[in-house]
Symmetry: C3
Subunit: 311 residues, 3 copies
């Protein structure tokens, strides 16, 4: 039972929560999203990789407190969703998933240790780097096949004639999709399940997730991002995580913190656009890197800037 | 008055000077360059972003000494020149400029804090990273339009039949353009104004800037860089900064320091060529990154190598 | 004589050995490989760059112990092989080689100093970064010509119809080529010479090199890497280095260490595929970066994970 508890906490840590019930809702969101898309392998991958990443932590005799709060699992969870989402689920993919889950825990150790120098957390960087390596390798190995990776291409300027007026309903759906896309799920219902899990664990986290998504959707729309991508939440998931990180996970809410988080979310949207361009020639998605970069940028000086609000 | 003084020192810090008069000459060079090109928005952007970046430092209650010496302003100054140079000046661009100026100060804090571990300065890295993000985002948002970004392309080998004999006049103009390009200005007169400002503040800095530009132009020409780019100073501006950094700003001049700075400048020219290639597929300019990389490389071991000459 | 000894130790340090005899065998392997390919400039470059890189260490008055164990030479050795391998050997190339050898020692100082924060070694990163800069610059300067760089291109998915059954002989040749490719040499005889040198210096190192190459060839073949590249050892050289680093150079062999090294080698193969893709648009080879990245990843937490086996 204790191992299940730790794995659920691992799911919850994707959004900085140390709460098994919250993790259960996140897992439910993944299962729903996978089922709705007709891709059960996504849910299987998430569970399997969470278990392996967590077990790796036990085998390596890691620090008990970190282990028990799920900090060895969340990168596995995300990798376990990402590989079956972007790759054909053949034998080679499952081998990569197992290897990737083990490596995600080692990456977690390495990145955490390096960032301890500046007292910031690894966030989801171990997931992003590990997954990127497998996705990039797709183009070098014939047994690993893309099943949804963006086609590599040279970026080009584009101009849209009309951005359809953003209706209130459309806005709501985009906001929920943005929250679901934290787990790479294109499903508003998954977004609702994630929100419930978050609110059960921390009202601040839930509120900041909602505000972060809303703000990101609005900003991306105003800057003229492609409508479909905005609607699918692809410009919002990083902002969701930045908002929760800056507003609730590492600071206690206050007006000063709110202002700082808002600027952080706006810059996250720009970073999302930037990384979309940067990765276009090599045909891989940004995953949550825009959140990671923007949040590191805003968290490193956080100690000095927010001494009174720091958690 | 004190705030104006701090903003002028911000301009001067682009070339490591803590001197408002020097900053005034730099600002004059920007205004002249903008006027000569018929793009007043470049000068307006520079002033606005310097003010906002500096004000952000005050709002965040930063260290007074750093603040007063202009260390919160110079990245804003450069970003304020760069965005209107490369982007169409519509509403979205000005919003980006304001957001970018705020973020440039936060980047400055983050990068400085990280680099303190190895006792090196942030140099212009906060400007480069922040600006790159906005320029890359151009290709993802339809309301941000390029107005001078290089077209994204796959690099290819090229061979030139003739490099016209480099005349003494051509050499002089290229050298002055190289100095002006530190502020992205393609104007020899701006180069002269910058040199006057530098010499007023520090004769060593002025001399090293001149030697750095001359040496870079010669090296780029000998390696066979495209004539037009050499003439416009595009292979020299980073060398100018490397020369001032290694020769005068962080060391006291000596023969040993001079030799070290010369090698640093030569490697900066190679780095300029390398980064031109690296960024070609994503269609953004190197900005002063070649200087930043080469100078970090030569400054990290500086303490041990130049104990007697270290400032 | 002492200087020759130090230079030979420099060659040996490419594979973490502090042993002049081992270095002599490595040098012999380079000479043989260069002669077999009809490119004597590769051997000349290796010797010249090792001498210059080592001499730079003396001129800079570096720490005697590090200097004498050859730690200033090995990045020069590799750069001295790489530049004549990938570039046309004209005057500009030799100037770059001399400058590059000097810079490789400065890079070594900088990267070592930065990584000391996390108690890991620079590995071959100084060689990789310095060489990459010169190779990238090829596309910007007409006097530096490619002679074997990969053509820049957009990556694409590929599928192979048949991987010919891997015969035992083919397997053996691939394994030896993998070892030779550590020095960029496509020659099984060079591989044998390197192995002899290694075994003379350390049986553990020799065994791990062999196992690392074998395992990498098998893994790359199973994942469906292109047959020719697998045969030429292009998916194995990084695994060779990872195996020696994790298994023998930084840990004392044990079952736990062996398991860790095996996972490290497998991830190195994935990293090799990933970096092949990542660098395709800019037309430069990965060099030993897959080894460097994978080994840093596995070495940073090594202290905590292998306290009993740590050298």
């Amino acid at each position: 039972m204790s191992f299940v508890d730790v794995c659920l906490r691992g799911c919850a840590q994707v959004m900085f929560q140390n709460n098994p019930l919250c993790g259960a809702f996140f897992l439910l969101a993944i299962i729903w999203g996978a089922w709705a898309e007709g891709r059960p392998e996504v849910a299987v991958g998430a569970v399997l990789a969470t278990v392996i990443a967590t077990a790796t932590g036990y085998v390596l005799h890691l620090d008990r407190t970190a282990l028990r709060s799920g900090l060895c699992g969340y990168n596995g969870t995300l990798l376990g969703v990402a590989l079956p989402t972007f790759l054909l689920s053949n034998a080679a993919m499952w081998v990569c998933l197992v290897l990737g889950a083990i490596v995600s825990t080692i990456s977690m150790l390495t990145i955490s240790r390096m960032l301890k120098t500046w007292k910031v957390a690894a966030l989801t960087a171990p997931f992003v780097f590990t997954t990127w390596f497998f996705l990039l390798a797709t183009y070098s190995f014939s047994r690993i096949h893309s099943a949804g990776l963006p086609e590599p291409a040279i970026p080009h300027q584009f101009s849209m004639t009309v951005t359809g007026e953003l209706t209130l309903t459309g806005f709501g759906a985009s906001t929920l999709n943005g929250i679901a896309q934290v787990f790479l799920l294109p499903s508003a219902i998954s977004g609702v399940l994630i929100l419930i899990g978050l609110f059960l664990s921390s009202r601040g986290a839930g509120a900041f997730a909602l505000v972060g998504s809303l703000l990101s959707v609005a900003a991306a729309d105003l800057l003229g991002a492609p409508d479909v991508e905005v609607h699918n939440g692809l410009f919002a998931f990083s902002g969701v995580l930045t908002a929760v990180a800056l507003g609730d996970a590492f600071n206690r809410p206050s007006w000063r913190v709110l202002a700082y988080a808002v600027i952080g979310v706006l810059f996250t949207v720009v970073t999302q656009g930037a990384l979309n361009t940067l990765l276009e020639p090599v045909g891989i998605p940004t995953l949550t890197m825009p959140f990671v970069l923007a949040s590191w940028l805003f968290l490193v000086p956080n100690q000095e800037l927010m001494p009174d609000y720091r958690r």
